[in-house]
Symmetry: C2
Subunit: 375 residues, 2 copies
DNA sequence: ATGAAAGCGCTAACAC
DNA sequence: GTGTTAGCGCTTTCAT
């Protein structure tokens, strides 16, 4: 790090220029063009009541002067900032960073800018409210990523404030996204003929998307039991330890007595990776000997060619942003919360259950099916 | 997706309220407190010339009214927006998202907000300049992530505009970050006694940090040769195909004739993962049979307990942001570019070369060393 | 098609 | 310690 004595790249002349804040104002442009500021304003924003030649001249001059309207002044005059706040609990988790990317794209496409607020812990701290409040006067609307990012009270506060907002990923009264995702994954495997499954999921109390412990899942599992399908639930620490822990859990599972599952659902791609590594070590072929379904399935899942229940959070966030903008421009209210509907992305890590699957894995490949180059 | 007919969670009453934009202004607060707006302004911003009881009263009233100063109005009055723009080429790559996180933290800690600009392709398109220009009037300073994010002309333009900015990750005249990182990694392995190395790196022309093809690296490699150390360079597609490709490359390498390297440097954690998977399949123990060094080494590398050359980009970005703020508040100029100094993070994937290491791997473990639970 | 003028909500001198 | 006042740079009627 050498910020302190970092190389100053600008020549003294430019430095001078900056020191005097020589940013041209709309008046400068108006004067240079010999018109009023009102005309310049219309011309630059592409509003109608300007003669074509006049407009051209103004645009040229503005360009030459390097003029751009001050966001503050425009904002004060119009009452709108042309920016929306995006609050996310994480930037490292692919689902969230993808969502932020999606939102950014949607917003920038409409000439809105995105103010990022990173709220790692969903606490009801006064600090948090302060941060939200700061945002409130800075942006026209709020896109909240993650159902648990804001507490109920904060959501209420938002609603009271009358600020337009959308919460992406909320599992509300009607839909439980997590359970739905888990169900989707399990259904896929059952359809492939698997009757002995393991489910690697988060510890009870784990936050957000990695924790499919909702009653929807319990419905699903009890339904399974009546069909004679075994589903062993294995709780894994999520987050940084997910890979290590799922490796360990898989080893234990495989070394243990009793029948081995022919398919595993993992609540995150990291867990799936752990299973993949350990399975490679055991000499198992994926998906011939063992089917694996991931969740979240963005970058890592894609690279690993993992069949996964994906969130397409980028698209969802983009849509959310679009709704927000539509509401802003159309004056209508969209203050609402959207539920997450997961999609199943079938890739290379699941296959129909081998007919004569032994308890220990290590079975001949189904005829006609190429072994994958998985470990 | 159901934004269109999404559940509106606010009751009609609140909806009414919003419709009338009932945001209190500073005058409302002043009136309610029986003071002037100037006093309110001072009180709220914590400026000195306000009596303690007055301040308390004002703060209370402001709180009760849900007042927060309009950023636009304040910005127009002060000439500063209290926000800085962060431009990043990516949010998915851990190094960048970590950097954004770091910057956000630093900025929010100082009550600045962060406006995000995502510029995936470093093109000289007019669109890009437009976007940059938009930002210019919206933020007080710019933090540019990535050496290649902006083209030379755009940097020049920035400099001319006099906007405060810092570029993080630039390998300038003096330091070549990539080569330095590669050198660091290689040196580590050589010190562990390895004399036969492979280097998985990006294709020529690959962007930014994953492409250590600078002349610094060539210096390093030629130096190695004179020491009798073999370094086989293997070019791998980076990005989405990195894992798959490095698996393939490793298989080929291992199946091929001749001596096998005892250590591998990977230009990204994804490549390292590919190697890890394939090594597990070959029955190799890491690091006993094979040492692996990753690069970028944030989340994935950490989870895999990979020895890696890390960028600590979060810290770097935070420092950059701090410098920017210091400059903004102190009026001094910091327009400069910072170079990246990589650090070696020694974790579990490298070990001293086994004494009687066979060409094929599969060697007894060094006495006294626990085999890792790697695949 | 263009211009004059009245703010938008806040801050910062300056006066008291 | 507190109030008065003059803008900040733009948008937006309303005239012309």
């Amino acid at each position: 790090m050498d910020e302190g004595q970092g190389v100053a790249l600008i020549p003294p002349a430019a430095r001078q220029a900056r020191a005097h804040h020589p940013r041209p104002s709309i008046e400068d442009v108006a004067a240079a063009a010999g018109v009023s500021t009102a005309t310049v304003s219309r011309a630059i924003r592409g509003l109608p009541r300007v003669a074509q030649p006049t407009r051209m001249r103004i645009l040229e001059i503005a360009q030459a002067l390097g003029y751009a309207a001050s966001a503050s002044a425009a904002g004060l005059a119009t009452g709108r900032t042309r920016s929306v706040g995006v609050v996310t609990p994480s930037l490292r988790q692919p689902a969230y960073s993808a969502a932020v990317e999606g939102a950014e794209r949607a917003l920038r496409g409409r000439d809105y800018s995105l103010v990022l607020l990173h709220l790692p812990h969903r606490s009801a701290s006064p600090q948090l409210s302060t941060d939200l409040n700061m945002l409130r006067r800075r942006v026209d609307a709020l896109l909240v990523l993650g159902a648990d990012t804001l507490g109920k009270d904060q959501i209420k506060q938002l609603q009271r404030s009358g600020m337009q907002h959308i919460v992406i990923g909320l599992h509300g009264e009607h839909v439980d996204g997590e359970a739905e995702a888990a169900t989707t994954a399990i259904r896929h495997l059952v359809q492939l003929g698997h009757t002995d499954l393991a489910f690697f999921l988060g510890e009870p109390g784990a936050p957000s998307w990695a924790n499919p412990q909702a009653r929807g899942l319990e419905h699903c599992t009890s339904a399974l039991k009546t069909e004679g399908i075994k589903l062993k639930e294995i709780r894994i620490e999520i987050g940084a330890g997910a890979i290590r822990n799922s490796r360990r859990a898989f080893s234990r599972l495989w070394a243990g007595p009793g029948s081995k599952p022919t398919a595993i659902v993992c609540a995150s791609d990291e867990m799936a990776l752990g299973v993949l590594l350990e399975a490679a070590r055991e000499g198992l072929s994926i998906p011939e000997d063992l089917s694996i379904v991931g969740m979240d399935g963005q970058d890592l899942g894609e690279s690993l060619e993992l069949t996964a229940v994906i969130q397409n959070s980028a698209l969802r966030a983009a849509r959310g942003a679009q709704s927000l903008l539509a509401a802003l421009e159309g004056e209508r209210s969209v203050t609402y919360s959207a539920a997450w509907s997961p999609e199943l992305m079938i890739r290379q890590s699941t296959a129909r259950r081998a007919r004569n699957h032994s308890a220990a894995g290590m079975v001949e490949t189904e005829p006609g099916r190429q072994p994958r180059d998985y470990g």
